[in-house]
C-alpha cells in the first residue's frame, strides 16, 4: 500500500535484539530518516514476509540489506578479516527455493518469486550483506560492523540514486 511509489524499494531486515543480525534493520531506519521519499521507499522489517510481495512488484529495483551468516558464534569462521565485509549480489526469483520455504525464513529469491507469480512482475534485485561477528542477545552492533556502516549507507544511497538498473558488484 505505497501511495506515490518511487523507482526503488529498500528493505533492511533483521532482529535488532540479536546483535549484528539487526544491521539491515538499523541501516533501513537510518536511510528512512535521510533519504528523500522521491528517491526510494525504505522499509525496516524484522523478517521478510509474503506481504512484501506487492510493494516489491511495484518498483523497478529493490535493494535488500541483511546480515551475512555465519555470525552465530564469534569463535567460528569466518576469520577475523571477513567480519564487516560488505557484499553485493544480484538475486533472481527462484521457485525451487519457494517450494522449500519456511514462513519464518523467507529469502529474497522467494519473495521475488511471490511478486512474479502474484503480480506478474519482479524487479531488478540486489542483496547487500554485511558479515556479522555475533548474533548474541544484545541491541548493540559489533565494532567491526559499526565501522562499515558509513560505507554501507553510501553504497545503498549510490545504488538507489543511480538512474540505471545495471549494477557494479563489490
Amino acid at each position: 500500500m505505497i501511495s506515490a511509489t518511487p523507482a526503488t524499494l529498500i528493505i533492511g531486515y533483521g532482529n535488532p535484539l540479536r546483535g549484528d543480525d539487526g544491521v539491515g534493520w538499523y541501516v533501513a531506519q537510518h536511510l528512512a530518516a535521510i533519504m528523500p521519499a522521491t528517491v526510494a521507499c525504505v522499509r525496516a522489517c524484522h523478517q521478510l514476509t509474503p506481504d512484501l510481495a506487492e510493494p516489491v512488484s511495484q518498483v523497478r529495483r529493490v535493494i535488500f540489506i541483511d546480515a551475512d551468516a555465519p555470525c552465530q558464534d564469534a569463535d567460528a569462521a569466518p576469520p577475523v578479516p571477513e567480519y564487516g565485509r560488505i557484499r553485493c549480489q544480484r538475486v533472481a526469483p527462484d521457485w525451487s527455493a519457494a517450494i522449500s520455504a519456511c514462513s519464518h525464513h523467507l529469502v529474497p529469491a522467494v519473495l521475488l518469486m511471490y511478486a512474479a507469480v502474484l503480480y506478474g512482475t519482479s524487479p531488478v534485485a540486489l542483496v547487500l550483506t554485511v558479515t556479522g561477528v555475533s548474533c548474541a542477545h544484545t541491541q548493540a552492533l559489533s565494532p567491526a560492523v559499526v565501522a562499515v556502516l558509513p560505507a554501507l549507507v553510501n553504497q545503498v544511497q549510490m545504488l538507489a540514486r543511480s538512474t540505471t538498473c545495471e549494477i557494479s558488484y563489490f
Binding site: 500500500m1 506487492e54 522449500s100 520455504a101 519456511c102 514462513s103 519464518h104 507469480v117 503480480y119
Partner: protein
C-alpha cells in the same frame, strides 16, 4: 501389539507441539494427545518489573497477536490505576484490536489453512503449502496478502509499527488519531470489504467438499465461552462473559470477566506445558469449553454490523443450537473479519474519534488488576498483583489457546479414530490430525513453523518402546 504414532512437530501452527496417537493391540486408536512442548514462563519473567512496563513486556509473548496482549495488559494496568480511560481511547484501542483480528484471521485462513482447503487434505505435501497456493490460486493468495496488509497497516498507522507497537499504554493510548490518518484508513475499507465478501462466497460454496472433515473435526457437544456486549452482540474489547451449551442454551450470562476465577479453573497434566482450563461448576474434564471465532458466533445474539449480521444468521443456520464442528472455525474467522472491517469503519466515523483526550494519568491505586479482552483465538486474561512500589509480585495469564486445550485434545482423538487404523496410516490421515489443530489456530508462541515440505516424523512404537516403523518427511 500396542503402538504409538508420533507427529512431531505439528506444522503450520504458531508454536511448537507434537501429537501422539496410541493404538491398541488390534490397531484401533484408543487415545491421542496434543503435547505443547515449549515453555515460555512470562509470568515469572515479569516479577519485579514496574507494572506500567507490562503492556510492552507482555506484547513480546507473541509476534502474531501482540495487540491482544497489549490490550488485555493495558486493561489490567487501568485497573491498577483505578481510572476510567477516555472514551476516545477505548475506541482507538478497539480499532487496533479489530485490525489485529483481521490480520491474524487472514494469516490463519489464507496462509496456514488455505493449503489444506485449496489443494486438498490428501494432496502431495510437497505442493500443499503457501507456494502451492500461490501457484494454483493466485487471486485468493493476493486477497489474503491484501487483507493481512489491511490489518497490519492500520496497526502501523495507529501505533507506529506493525509488530509490538507501544501505543497502547496504561490509562489509554499515547497519541490521538489525526484526521488525515482516519481518512487514510477509511479509504482502505471498500477494497477490504470486497475481498472478504468474495472470500466468504468462495468458502461457502466449497463447504460441500469438506463433508467428512466437518463431521469429524472436533465435532462434539461442549460449552462455548466468550464476551458479549450489553446487547448480546459480538464483542472483542469489553463486556460480559457468556457461556452457552451445545443446544445453544445459555448456561451462564452477565458474568463479570474479572471474576474469572469464580467459574474457570485450570488443571495440569504431566505430559504438556499447556494447562487445561475448564468450567468450574462442571468439573474437570467435563467442563470442557471452546473459545474463539466459533464460540463467539455461537454465544452472540448478533454481530452488530449490517453485513456481518447477515453472514452470522446464515452461519447459525448451519445447525440447530450451537454450531459444533470445529472445522467451522475457518468459516467463523471469515465472518469475524467482515465484522472487524465494518466495525472499524463505524468507529472511525464516530464524532469524537479525533479527540485529543486519549489518556488518563494516575499512579497505582490498586494492588491488583485484571484485564480481559477477546483475542483472535479467544478470551485472553491478564491478572497482575503489585507491591507498594508498583512492582509486579505475581502474574497469571490465561491465553486463548489454553481454553481450547481440552477440545483440541478431544478433536485429535476424534480425527484419529475416524481416519486412522494401525494397518493403514496414510498421508491424508496424518495431515487431517494436524489440520484439526490448525482449525483452532493455536498460538503456542510466535515460533517457527514450516510451511514448505512438512518436517513430519512418524514413529510406530511397540508397547516395549521398540521402533516398529519410522517415516521422516522434510
Amino acid at each position: 501389539m500396542a503402538q504409538r504414532i508420533l507427529i512431531d512437530p505439528v506444522t503450520r501452527i504458531e508454536g511448537h507441539a507434537r501429537i501422539t496417537i496410541h493404538l491398541d493391540d488390534d490397531g484401533i486408536v484408543n487415545d491421542a494427545r496434543f503435547h505443547v512442548t515449549q515453555f515460555r514462563g512470562f509470568e515469572k519473567l515479569c516479577e519485579g518489573r514496574p507494572f506500567y512496563e507490562m503492556p510492552s513486556l507482555m506484547a513480546r509473548i507473541c509476534g502474531i497477536c501482540p495487540v491482544s496482549h497489549l490490550i488485555a495488559s493495558a486493561k489490567a494496568c487501568d485497573a491498577i490505576l483505578a481510572v476510567r480511560i477516555p472514551t476516545t481511547a477505548i475506541k482507538l484501542r478497539q480499532i487496533m484490536n479489530l485490525a489485529q483480528i483481521v490480520q491474524s484471521h487472514a494469516l490463519s485462513f489464507f496462509y496456514l489453512a488455505a493449503p489444506d482447503l485449496l489443494l486438498g487434505m490428501d494432496s502431495d505435501p510437497a505442493q500443499r503449502n503457501l507456494a502451492g497456493v500461490l501457484q494454483s490460486h493466485p487471486q485468493l493468495a493476493r486477497d489474503g496478502i491484501r487483507l493481512r496488509q489491511f490489518g497490519q497497516q492500520i496497526i502501523e498507522w495507529l501505533g507506529g509499527k506493525r509488530i509490538h507497537p507501544a501505543w497502547v499504554v496504561p490509562g489509554g493510548v499515547n497519541e490521538p488519531l489525526t484526521a488525515s490518518r482516519r481518512d487514510q484508513i477509511l479509504a482502505t475499507i471498500p477494497e477490504a470489504l470486497r475481498i472478504i465478501q468474495r472470500s466468504l462466497d468462495w468458502f461457502k460454496r466449497s463447504l460441500e467438499g469438506y463433508r467428512e472433515e466437518i463431521q469429524s473435526f472436533a465435532n462434539f457437544p461442549s460449552l462455548f465461552m466468550g464476551m458479549v456486549n450489553e446487547q448480546g452482540g459480538l464483542e472483542f474489547y469489553d463486556g460480559y462473559m457468556r457461556i452457552v451449551d451445545a443446544t445453544g442454551a445459555i448456561v451462564a450470562d452477565q458474568l463479570d470477566a474479572t471474576r474469572y476465577q469464580d467459574y474457570v479453573e485450570e488443571a495440569v497434566e504431566d505430559w504438556t506445558y499447556l494447562k487445561f482450563p475448564y468450567y468450574k461448576p462442571a468439573g474437570y474434564p467435563h467442563g470442557i469449553y471452546r473459545v474463539g471465532p466459533l464460540a463467539r458466533l455461537n454465544i452472540a445474539d448478533h454481530c452488530g454490523t449490517p453485513l456481518a449480521d447477515q453472514e452470522w444468521a446464515e452461519f447459525r443456520s448451519l445447525q440447530r443450537g450451537s454450531v459444533l464442528s470445529s472445522f467451522y472455525f475457518h468459516y467463523a474467522r471469515l465472518v469475524e473479519i467482515l465484522f472487524g472491517i465494518e466495525r472499524i469503519a463505524e468507529l472511525l466515523n464516530d464524532p469524537d474519534i479525533l479527540s485529543d483526550h486519549v489518556r488518563a494519568l494516575a499512579g497505582p491505586n490498586n494492588y491488583e488488576g485484571i484485564g480481559v479482552s477477546e483475542a483472535p483465538r479467544g478470551t485472553l486474561l491478564h491478572h497482575y498483583q503489585i507491591d507498594a512500589q508498583g512492582l509486579i509480585t505475581w502474574a497469571n495469564l490465561i491465553i486463548a489457546t489454553g481454553h481450547n486445550n481440552l477440545a483440541m485434545n478431544r478433536g485429535v482423538l476424534q480425527v484419529a479414530r475416524h481416519f486412522m487404523s494401525g494397518t493403514a496410516i496414510t498421508e491424508g490421515a496424518l495431515n487431517r490430525v494436524e489440520a484439526v489443530i490448525r482449525a483452532f489456530d493455536p498460538c503456542l508462541s510466535c515460533s517457527t513453523h514450516a510451511q514448505g515440505v512438512l518436517p513430519l516424523h512418524v514413529q510406530l512404537l511397540g508397547s516395549d518402546g521398540t521402533v516398529l516403523d519410522e517415516v521422516w518427511r522434510g
